[in-house]
Amino acid sequence: MTELAGTADRAAKPVAPDEVLPAIAAAVLAVPGVTALSPTLSSAGLRSVIHRRATDGIQLVTRTGLVEVDVNVATAGTRSARAVAHEIRDRVGAELRSHGSTPGTIAVSVLTIGETTDQPPLG
């Protein structure tokens, strides 16, 4: 994890072991109603646009031993955004615990409902 512009303060230490971030991304995408992860400029910075990754849309930092997660998604509209967000938070927490981490704040934002995400494909 190298790109946390705008989210990490000096006391926050980025943590994203290679196996954790993809596992969390997979857990989020497996939630019924989620259609895509949604990267944001403010959370990931312009660099993430140049070097896109399949996990863009998820940021992790540790603060005082807790892993804080910020997830941005698009949903299908076939299920309420509120129900989807709750399930994402539960699954991300479980995924962190399964990797031996202690979850802190898990923030979930539904940025798009039932339409394309305006995101060009990776490449």
């Binding site: 400029l41 309420s80 539904v110 940025l111 798009t112």
Partner: protein, 216 residues
């Protein structure tokens, strides 16, 4: 009538590209009084500054030159991000609490615009969604189960309450004469149902302003 795709419109109805085109001039009369355009201009200014900084870095280090298509990706994400507007809590926050689960104002507005599209004879020109202050007894509901009645998929907690304000244009033709009160009631019911089902929050008030009625 030329229509701006809903995905490019701000809450006031103005095309985000129109705001971008005018970013280097002083705001016009509409932009000066419009909270959507004011916020969009501020976000676009930050993007402009960041892009300039990135361009300077590329000049200093040619190895940083972005691959073809990166400008397209930046603009696509920037458009999407500026349009998203504020984030509204999905769960009603307690006193002095912030909600960790949110939905973008634009996502809710898009759900509402689709209600108008489905109705066929209504064009929603502008749409604003506002969070109800839980301390406002005149609007806030206290029905935790209310938003969940329509489905078994009910998360814990109390959903947020919102109000919706829309300005619409109604199509009334000889073969499809519109009764304005009926159209407004249908639109109001559709908005309440769609927001409850697709977003999961309670709509406690829908204000509809019919700006004009046009025919063939």
């Amino acid at each position: 009538m030329e229509m701006t795709p809903p995905s490019r419109r701000l809450g006031c109805g103005r095309d985000i590209d129109q705001v971008w085109d005018g970013i280097d001039r002083e705001p016009d009369a509409h932009e000066r009084g419009c909270p959507f355009c004011t916020a969009a201009r501020a976000d676009l200014r930050r993007l402009q500054d960041a892009t300039r900084s990135l361009r300077q870095e590329e000049l200093d280090d040619p190895a940083l030159e972005p691959s073809p298509g990166v400008t397209e990706r930046i603009l696509a994400i920037a458009r999407a991000e500026v349009r998203r507007g504020r984030r509204l809590p999905l769960d009603r926050p307690g006193p002095d609490q912030t909600s960790d689960l949110t939905v973008s104002e634009q996502a809710v507005a898009t759900v509402i615009r689709r209600v108008g599209d489905r109705a066929g004879r209504v064009e929603i020109r502008s749409c604003a969604v506002r969070l109800v202050d839980p301390g406002d007894p005149s609007l806030a509901t206290d029905l935790a189960e209310d938003a969940g009645d329509a489905a078994a998929d009910v998360p814990p907690g109390i959903p947020s309450d919102v109000t919706v304000s829309v300005r619409v244009s109604v199509l009334s033709t000889a073969g499809n004469r519109a009764s304005i009160p009926a159209v407004v009631q249908e639109l109001r019911d559709g908005i309440i149902g769609a927001v409850r089902q697709e977003v999961g929050v309670n709509v406690v008030q829908v204000d509809v302003v019919v700006e004009d009625v046009h025919g063939d």
